[in-house]
C-alpha cells in the first residue's frame, strides 16, 4: 500500500496546553486508518489541523497528490484544504445545511466545479449550455451517492428533517461529493444503533475496496474500529502511545491501560 498522508511531529499548543504533542503517523491510500483514544486525547484536534481549522504550532502534514508531487496541509486555510488538497471531513456534531434539501446539500458540495463551469456565475446567469451540463453531472453524482446510501427518496426534503441516522449518512455522502482523496470521519457511528453501525461499517469498507478511498476515522465504537481498520493510531493526553494493526493494538498493554480497559473476568 502506498503512503498517502504523512503527519510529522505535529504539535498543537493552546496557551500552556499541548493538545497534540509531537505526533507522527502515516495513512495509506485505499486503507482505513483509525485514530482512537480517551476523550480529550487530541483526536479531533488532529483532524482540525489536517483540515485547516487549526494551524499547528509545529510539524508538517504532507499529502501525496494524485498527479504526483506533494502538498503541505498545515498552511492551507479551511476551504483550500477541500478545494486544493481534496481532503473532506465530517463533524462530531452533524453539520448539515438543515434548511436546504438533501439534494441541495450535495450540490453545494460540488460548488467549486460548478462555479468554474458557470464562469463564476456569468454563464450561469444567462443559462449557457456548458453550465447546464455541469449541473446535470452534479445531479447525477449526487444521485449516485444517494442511491448508495438509500436516501434517493428523500432527495427533495429539507436535510434537517431527516432522522438522525440518515443525517449521519448524508453528511458522509456530502463529503464524498467533493471527490476527495482522503475522507476524515469524526465519530461517524456516534448515536447510531447496532444495525445502523453495521451498515456504516459495510459502507466504509465498500468505499475503500471499490472506490480506493483513503479514510481517516475517529471512533469510540471499538467493535467497528477493530472490524474495519487496516491500521490504528492511539492517542492519550496528546501523545501517540501506539501505532499498529488492530490485532496488535488489542494486546498492547499501554493501550489497554489508557483506553481499552482490562477484559472483564468471565
Amino acid at each position: 500500500m502506498s503512503k498517502l498522508l504523512s503527519v510529522e511531529h505535529l504539535t498543537m499548543q493552546f496557551g500552556g496546553l499541548k493538545a497534540v504533542n509531537d505526533v507522527s503517523f502515516t495513512a495509506s491510500a485505499s486503507a482505513i486508518t483509525a485514530i482512537i483514544g480517551p476523550n480529550g486525547a487530541g483526536k479531533t484536534t488532529v483532524f482540525n489541523c489536517l483540515t485547516g481549522f487549526y494551524h499547528p504550532t509545529h510539524g508538517r502534514i504532507i499529502l501525496q497528490r494524485e498527479a504526483g508531487g506533494t502538498v503541505e496541509l498545515q498552511h492551507l486555510r479551511k476551504h483550500q484544504v477541500a478545494a486544493r488538497a481534496k481532503v473532506a471531513r465530517t463533524f462530531q456534531n452533524i453539520r448539515l445545511f438543515a434548511g436546504m434539501t438533501v439534494l441541495e446539500n450535495l450540490i453545494v458540495a460540488q460548488h467549486n466545479r460548478l462555479q468554474r463551469a458557470s464562469l463564476f456565475s456569468i454563464a450561469g446567469l444567462f443559462g449557457l449550455p456548458a453550465y447546464k451540463n455541469a449541473e446535470k453531472d452534479a445531479v447525477e453524482r449526487a444521485r449516485f451517492w444517494l442511491d448508495r446510501v438509500g436516501l434517493t427518496a428523500s432527495a427533495d426534503v429539507p436535510a434537517g428533517s431527516l432522522p438522525y441516522g440518515q443525517q449521519r449518512k448524508l453528511e458522509i455522502v456530502r463529503a464524498l461529493c467533493t471527490e476527495p482523496v482522503l475522507l476524515c470521519l469524526d465519530e461517524p457511528a456516534a448515536g447510531l444503533n447496532g444495525s445502523e453501525t453495521a451498515e456504516l461499517a459495510r459502507f466504509l469498507r465498500e468505499l475503500r475496496d471499490e472506490h480506493g478511498l483513503a479514510i481517516l476515522l475517529i471512533e469510540h465504537d471499538m467493535g467497528m474500529v477493530m472490524g474495519i481498520s487496516d491500521h490504528i493510531v492511539v492517542l492519550d493526553y496528546g501523545r501517540k502511545i501506539a501505532d499498529a494493526a488492530p490485532a496488535v493494538i488489542k494486546e498492547d498493554p499501554a493501550v489497554i491501560r489508557a483506553y481499552l480497559g482490562e477484559p472483564e473476568a468471565a
Binding site: 484544504v81 463533524f91 453539520r95 448539515l96 445545511f97 434548511g99 436546504m100 441541495e104 453545494v108 450561469g124
Partner: protein, 467 residues
C-alpha cells in the same frame, strides 16, 4: 371552556387589574398628568391629574374585563366592552380618553368574543393557511395588474405616486433580501448604498451632464464598489458585530453627506436634478428645448403631465423585476446556493471548499449595487435629495419589510411593502395612528406568523424535475 366559580372568577382578575392599573398610574402620572405648555412667560406645567387617574382606571377595568373573560365568562364581557366602545365618543371628558376607551373597548370585545366562539377564533388565527397554488399564481396576477395599472381609469396621480413609492421599497426589500435572506447577514445600514446611488446619480447628471440611462449603471457600480470596500474588512465580523458595524456605516454615510458640503451641498441637499428622459430620445415637457424632442410629439399624442409619471412607474417596475429575476436566477446558481449554505452552516460550508470571504463579499456587493440603482431612481424621481432621506429609519423600514414578509421570500416582501408603505399612504387621514397600527401589526405577526408572512422555502433544484 372551564367555568370557575364566580368568586374565583372575579378575585384573580381583580388582582391582575389592580396591578395593571397601578403600573398605568405610575406611567400616566408623568406622561399624561404633567404636560408642559409654552406660554409667553416660558414653559409651565398644566397638571391634569384627573385625566391620568381616569386612564389608570380604564386600564384597570380593561385588564379586569379580560381576566373575567378568560375565567369563563366571555359573553357578558364582550357585550359590555362593545357598549363601552360605542359610548366612548360621547363621553365629554378628554378626546384622548374617548379614543383610548374606544380602542381598548374594541380590543377587549374582540378578545372576549374570540374566547366565546373558539371555533371562529381558530378559523381566524390558526386556520389562515395560504395555499401553495395561491403563492405560485400570485406573482403573475400581481404583475399583470401592475402592468395595466397606469392605463386604467381608476388610477389617479396620487395612487400612482403611492404605487411608485411601494415599488421602490419592494426593490430595496428584494435587494436587501440578498444579504439578509439568502446570505444570512443582518445588514442594518442598507440605506447607505441607496444614498450612494442617489448622490452618484445627482452629481453625475449635474456636473458631468450624464442622462439617467448613462448614469444609472455608474450609480450601481459606485454602490457596488462601496460595498466591496466596506465589506472587505467588516465581513470578518460575525452575527451581531457585523450588524452593529453596518449600522455605523449607514450613519457615517449620512454624516459624510451632511458634512462634505463642497461635494454634496450638505444638509441643503441637491436640487434640480435633471428629469428622466424617454431613453434619451425625448423629454417629457410641453415645450422641449431647442434640438430636443418632446415625448408627446414623438408619439403624436396630446401633452399630458402624467406621461412622465407613468413612464417612471414602468421604470421602477422594470428595475424591481430585474432584481427579482436576478435573485430567482442566482438562487439556482452555485453562487446563490453557496450564499444559503454559508447562512446555514459556515463551518461545514468551508470544509466543502467554499471561500467564506469571497462568497459573502459577493452577496454584500451585489445587494449594494441593487441598492445603488434604487437610489439613482429615487434621485431622478424626486429631483431633489438631501441627507434627511437616508436616515437609519429607512434602513429599519427596509429591514422590517424583509422580516415582516418572511426572510428570503420574494412575494412576502411585496405584501409587506404594501402593508408597511402603501396602506399608511392610502389612509393619510389616520396618520396619527400610524405608529399604533404598525405596533399592532408587528405584535400580530409575532403571535401568528413568527417567521414572516410567507415562510415557505422553494428548493432551488429537485431530483424529480432533473432530467
Amino acid at each position: 371552556m372551564l367555568r370557575t366559580p364566580l368568586r374565583e372568577a372575579l378575585l384573580r382578575p381583580l388582582r391582575d387589574g389592580a396591578l395593571a392599573g397601578f403600573v398605568a398610574l405610575v406611567l400616566c402620572l408623568p406622561i399624561v398628568g404633567l404636560p408642559t405648555s409654552e406660554t409667553a412667560n416660558g414653559l409651565i406645567l398644566r397638571p391634569r391629574i384627573p385625566e391620568a387617574i381616569a386612564f389608570a382606571v380604564a386600564v384597570f377595568l380593561g385588564r379586569f374585563a379580560l381576566g373575567v373573560a378568560e375565567a369563563g365568562r366571555p359573553r357578558p364581557v364582550a357585550l359590555i366592552a362593545l357598549l363601552v366602545a360605542i359610548a366612548a365618543p360621547f363621553i365629554r371628558f378628554a378626546p384622548e380618553f374617548s379614543a383610548a376607551l374606544a380602542i381598548g373597548g374594541l380590543f377587549v370585545a374582540l378578545r372576549a368574543s374570540l374566547l366565546a366562539f373558539p371555533t371562529l377564533a381558530g378559523r381566524i388565527t390558526g386556520g389562515v393557511k395560504i395555499p401553495p397554488v395561491a403563492i405560485k399564481r400570485a406573482p403573475l396576477v400581481i404583475l399583470a395588474l401592475l402592468v395595466v395599472l397606469p392605463l386604467t381609469p381608476v388610477i389617479d396621480r396620487r395612487l400612482l405616486d403611492i404605487a411608485i413609492l411601494v415599488l421602490t421599497y419592494v426593490m430595496l426589500g428584494w435587494g436587501l433580501n440578498i444579504t439578509v435572506g439568502l446570505a444570512g447577514l443582518l445588514d442594518l445600514g442598507y440605506v447607505a448604498f441607496f444614498a450612494i446611488g442617489a448622490y452618484a446619480y445627482a452629481l453625475l447628471s449635474i456636473s458631468a451632464g450624464l442622462s439617467f440611462w448613462g448614469a444609472l449603471p455608474i450609480a450601481g457600480l459606485c454602490a457596488a464598489v462601496a460595498g466591496l470596500v466596506v465589506g472587505g474588512p467588516i465581513l470578518r465580523l460575525r452575527g451581531d458585530y457585523f450588524a452593529i458595524v453596518t449600522l455605523g456605516f449607514g450613519e457615517i454615510t449620512r454624516l459624510i453627506a451632511i458634512n462634505w458640503s463642497s461635494l454634496t451641498s450638505g444638509s441643503q441637499g441637491i436640487a434640480q436634478i435633471p428629469r428622466i428622459s424617454f431613453f434619451g430620445v425625448a423629454d417629457f415637457t410641453a415645450t422641449p428645448d431647442a434640438g430636443r424632442h418632446a415625448f408627446h410629439e414623438l408619439f403624436g399624442i396630446s401633452f399630458d403631465p402624467s406621461h412622465r409619471q407613468i413612464f417612471i412607474f414602468y421604470v421602477i417596475l422594470a428595475l424591481a423585476l430585474a432584481v427579482n429575476a436576478f435573485i430567482a436566477r442566482s438562487r439556482k446558481l452555485p453562487l446563490g446556493r453557496a450564499w444559503e449554505a454559508l447562512r446555514e452552516d459556515e463551518i461545514a460550508a468551508q470544509s466543502l471548499g467554499l471561500n467564506l470571504q469571497r462568497i459573502r463579499l459577493s452577496a454584500y456587493a451585489i445587494a449594494a449595487s441593487w441598492g445603488g440603482l434604487a437610489g439613482a431612481f429615487f434621485a431622478v424621481r424626486q429631483g431633489f435629495i438631501s441627507p434627511e432621506s437616508f436616515s437609519f429609519l429607512e434602513s429599519a423600514v427596509i429591514l422590517a419589510i424583509v422580516v415582516l414578509g418572511g426572510v428570503g421570500s420574494q412575494l412576502g416582501v411585496v405584501l409587506a411593502a404594501i402593508v408597511m408603505i402603501g396602506v399608511p399612504e392610502l389612509v393619510r387621514q389616520l396618520a396619527e395612528y400610524r405608529m399604533l397600527a404598525f405596533g399592532v401589526a408587528m405584535v400580530a405577526i409575532m403571535v401568528w406568523r413568527p417567521s414572516g408572512l410567507i415562510s415557505r422555502r422553494e428548493p432551488s433544484i429537485r431530483l424529480g424535475a432533473a432530467p
